[in-house]
Amino acid sequence: MASDRTLSPETRERTTAPALSGGERGRSGGRRRSRPRAWLPLLPVTALYLVQFVLPLAVVAVTAFQTSAGPGVITSDLTLGNFRKVLTDPFYLEMLGRSFVLALGTAVLTVLLGYPIAWALARGRSWMRTVILVVVMTPLMTSSVVRSFGWMVLFDPESPILRFFGPLADERTGLMYTMPGLLIAMAHVLLPFMVLTLYGIIDRLDPTLEHASLNMGAGRVETFLRVTFPLTLGGVFAGMLLVFATAISTFVTPKLIGGTQYRVLATEIYEQSVQLLNWPLASAMALLLLLIAALTNFVYASLTRRIPGGG
């Protein structure tokens, strides 16, 4: 056996040294100097935040537990009735489920559409990258009202693009007021978030890893499945959570494309608070939405910390 060993003892000896010093470095790197006055410049924004966000939120939180006695009238009897209604009434449960399906569907759709785009953005020639970047970023600078109106025109039953979506469309309304139409419009609105998240991850992926895989005999598809995709999985999750959290609280697109058929959390909150003036119920739904967003955020944070390439 000994004759088969090819490493001389001195080599073996030395290879252990860097590992030790690495640990040493890690410890000293963790030390941080405290900066006692670092919070001072944050004072104005903190004050603004308190008045603008924390205070109204506290009002919402309290209102959620109060009772509505007709439109615009609140009695201060504390109750869990608003939450019970949202979480047990079939009408609201369906609406919640629809919000989830829409947000999740949008997240999945943006991954499918966004991955190839992000790939081309990270690995394409420079002129191609510029074109893609402009195409992807422009929607971000356009109001979502305008973008949704655009889709309303395209989703008309007379619209030429409906030929491609034939079986998905409704005879009378085309893709308007349908789930597929809503998904397409939502995916378009939120695609930039997915593309930019994935781009960050793919761009940081060392292309020699893929070269190594090809060199060892794997084909392009196998290389993608065994190396590229697993190493960008963190980005896929991060992007999906980001899109999910945004999609579930989106208001404009569901309102315009979904109409009254496709009520979701955000549109329902709007309806209850602005039109029906049932503020306690609206507040309860708003808190629920906040909870979902917070949970998504929490998962996002813990995932990006653990998955390779996702940080």
């Binding site: 060993r5 090819t6 030395r14 860097p18």
Partner: protein, 357 residues
């Protein structure tokens, strides 16, 4: 039996050639190092052989069969990458077994071959670790094992030791050379480190500006460089611009008024040539009166002396104001005064002078 034959290989980016008509053959079982600065085309050469770059023209053949029409994943050439390119999401074992898994090798055979390879590079104890948990030297060995487990007949090395410290590098270099001899694979090893290039190689291919400027055994490359740039690439040297004169119908050299006699043939009507002398071939002597006119003996003043233990590197300013580098081994210096400022004689043995065009 795997000869690697590179003929007329050219790669142009726009009009700029990164690789310019490179032709050489690596014989079966031979280890050839490709030496050059960054931008010399050595990496382009390696990547063209591997298939990551499609050459503009020329051919790469293994045993007479062109590789160029084969896709990357069917070339059967192993590579050890400069940054190792280990898959960070896989363990050491999974990394080494990757190529076998892709080839759908049976599970028990895969395990056996991976174990044997890990044993060979002394990493059996680290099989279940992730690459990030290993030191640089260990990662380098995983990369080597991953290439060798597929039993390639040709292995390419892309500066695999450049990220390691010098001491570790020496050991790994010896290990690699031993392993290569024993397994008998043909190897092309790219490096910018001239010590590494010479210590490893059967033959060295020196590249410059995309061209192959010299190809031969290390001794030949070191002692008989084909041009000034090759000489400069392989360690310290004295490159003395000399006028070619004539005395008694034979050409003679004159270095700033100092006559030099060389064994190397001098081209008769060259006008000016460069005399190339390695510093270790020069001899420090006590100064001699009136030496200026004597051929091959220079008198000068020591302007710097760097002590390296086994030897000293001494810069002598000759009478004509030009510096000359001498590497003197210490047993040869015994009781000479070579402190800075001392007057010394430097003898240039006539057989130590090479004439470069």
């Amino acid at each position: 039996m795997s000869d690697l034959e590179i003929t007329g290989l050219t790669k142009r980016y726009g009009t700029e050639p990164a690789l310019d008509d490179v032709t050489f053959t690596v014989s079966d079982g031979e280890l050839v190092t490709v030496l050059g600065h960054s931008g010399s085309g050595k990496t382009t050469l390696l990547r063209s052989v591997a298939g990551f770059i499609e050459p503009t023209s020329g051919d790469v053949r293994v045993n007479g069969n062109s590789l160029l029409n084969l896709p990357i994943n069917r070339r059967g050439i192993g590579i050890v990458f400069q940054n190792y390119a280990l898959f960070p999401h896989m363990t050491v074992r999974q990394n080494v077994g990757y190529g076998l898994r892709v080839r759908r090798v049976r599970k028990d055979e895969l395990r056996e071959r991976v174990d044997r390879e890990l044993e060979r590079v002394q990493l059996s104890a680290y099989a279940d670790r992730k690459p990030a948990q290993l030191s640089g030297g260990q990662q380098q060995r995983v990369a080597l094992a991953r290439a060798l487990v597929l039993e390639p007949s040709i292995v390419l090395f892309d500066e695999p030791f450049s990220n390691l410290d010098a001491m570790l590098r020496d050991g790994l270099r010896r290990d690699l050379r031993q392993l290569q001899r024993r397994l008998g694979f043909t190897a092309l090893f790219v490096t910018h480190d001239q010590r590494e290039a010479m210590a490893l190689a059967d033959r060295v291919a020196v590249m410059r500006s995309g061209r192959l400027v010299q190809y031969g055994p290390p001794q030949e490359i070191y002692n008989r460089p084909s041009q000034v740039e090759v000489a400069a690439l392989l360690g310290r040297s004295n490159l003395l611009r000399c006028l070619v004169g004539e005395r008694d119908a034979t050409p003679v050299l004159e270095w700033r008024g100092q006559p030099l006699v060389a064994d190397d043939p001098i081209p008769a009507h060259a006008g000016e040539v460069t005399a190339f002398i390695r510093p270790e071939n020069l001899v420090i002597e006590p100064p001699v009166e009136g030496a200026a006119s004597r051929p091959n003996v220079i008198t000068g003043r020591v302007v710097s002396a760097d002590y390296f233990g086994s030897a000293s590197l001494i810069t002598v300013e000759a009478g004509n104001g030009e510096p000359i580098l001498v590497e003197a081994r210490h047993n040869a210096l015994s009781d000479q005064d070579i402190s800075v400022g001392a007057q010394v004689g430097v003898r240039i043995p006539r057989e130590a002078i090479r004439i470069l065009g």
